[in-house]
Amino acid sequence: MSKAAIPQSEQEMMNARLEQARRQLLQSEKLAAIGQLAAGVAHEINNPVGYVYSNLQSLESYLTDLFRLTDAVDSADSLDSLKAIKQNIDYEFVRHDLKDLLAESREGIERVKTIISAMKDFSHIEEEEFKPADIQRGIESTLNVVNNELKYKAEVTREFGDLPPVECIISQINQVVMNLLVNAAHAIDDFGEIRIRTREAGDTVIIEIEDTGRGISQDNINRIFEPFFTTKPIGKGTGLGLSLSFNIIEKHNGRIDVESALGKGTCFRIALPAKQPRAPEDS
């Protein structure tokens, strides 16, 4: 190396800078995506928080009523007056409704918990190394994060095969899946279907995301992976989603392909090696 001519090291420097710029772009696209999602996630959280909070207040008034009854046990002069109080507080209703109130509130808290942990799974910014990961779990986290963008546009069906752990940077794979899901939802006009399939094929793992949306024209299909190519109005799309997805999959030594029929729908297929080939300098 010491013998290397100046231009050589200059080139190395250029390469390093290019690599750094690429990473920054990746990071900022991710932050932009998270920002876009934040509004949707807020919506997802505000609903359960809304009813759990209100339920707690109803619970308080139920308890006040019940205590009125139990306190009266000591002071009431006859059984009849206790019965009157019991009648008065609509005991049967409270008794029955308490179960529902608690079950529904628990469901709400679970929902918030799932969203928060999905956000965490999703945004592992620090995780930059290849590690064996559970692709299906990644897809589920991603679905939780984008649920709000999807549920009003499509029914999501999963056909998951048995997958081995895949050596990858899972946060980046999640990001690719998110881009594909959001694109699919955007391509659907009223209400459609999005199918997510996974399967093992030899030593690669296949992920397919298929939608029943508008489809992509012959003219456009060759351009969709270009940076900044978008058919969406300003403010809706930057045209970076697929080009970054392509970069990520390439870095994982995988492939991303697309099939589309205008007016019928589109299917994106990702193939990832389960094990990364060992780079010569690594061994």
Partner: protein
């Protein structure tokens, strides 16, 4: 009986609101989809309609626009987890909602808002009733007037005939 309609695609929201409103003694109808809520509009007259904003088949503002056409007197409220400007402006301008409430909500605020909406609804209804009364009375007056005119045209002077206390016709001197 005051009837309230609640529309939200999330059943748990509906049950918690039902709990909240129960002590008020209103008749509360809940719907988790727009289609059946539209059906409800055909069967009941509501004082207040509260709708979620974002729902699968139609957004709340579109639904409230329908509701406004069907039941113009019913007061319209939006209860939304969205809270962005566009949805709010749309709600106010297109569906003329009375209030825009956000999720998570404040129980007291929801009840107070519905109460004041009911007051306004009752005023509107009362106003309409009074208006109707005035209108029928006016129509009756007009009919009577026309009858008098007709009689007068047929028999000039007949409407001006004056009678004595015992019913006998008085002949006036000034003609």
């Amino acid at each position: 009986m005051i009837k309230i309609q609640l529309v939200d695609d999330e059943p748990n929201i509906l049950s918690s609101l039902r709990r909240l409103l129960k002590p008020q003694g209103w008749e509360v109808h809940t719907y988790d989809n727009v289609e059946s809520a539209l059906g409800g509009l055909l069967e009941h007259n509501y004082a207040v309609i509260v709708s979620d904003y974002q729902m699968p088949t139609a957004d709340g503002v579109t639904y409230l626009q329908f509701a406004k056409q069907r039941q113009p007197d019913a007061m319209r409220l939006v209860l939304s987890a969205h809270g962005d400007r566009t949805s709010m402006i749309k709600a106010i301008n297109q569906a003329e909602v009375y209030r825009y409430l956000s999720k998570p909500w404040n129980d007291y605020e929801v009840v107070a808002t519905i109460k004041s909406a009911i007051d306004l609804y009752q005023l509107k209804v009362e106003n309409r009733q009074l208006q109707n009364e005035v209108d029928t009375q006016k129509a009756m007056l007009r009919a009577r007037e026309q009858e008098l005119l007709r009689l007068e045209a047929e028999n000039p002077g007949i409407t001006r005939v004056q009678r004595d206390a015992d019913g006998s016709v008085l002949i006036s001197n000034n003609d």
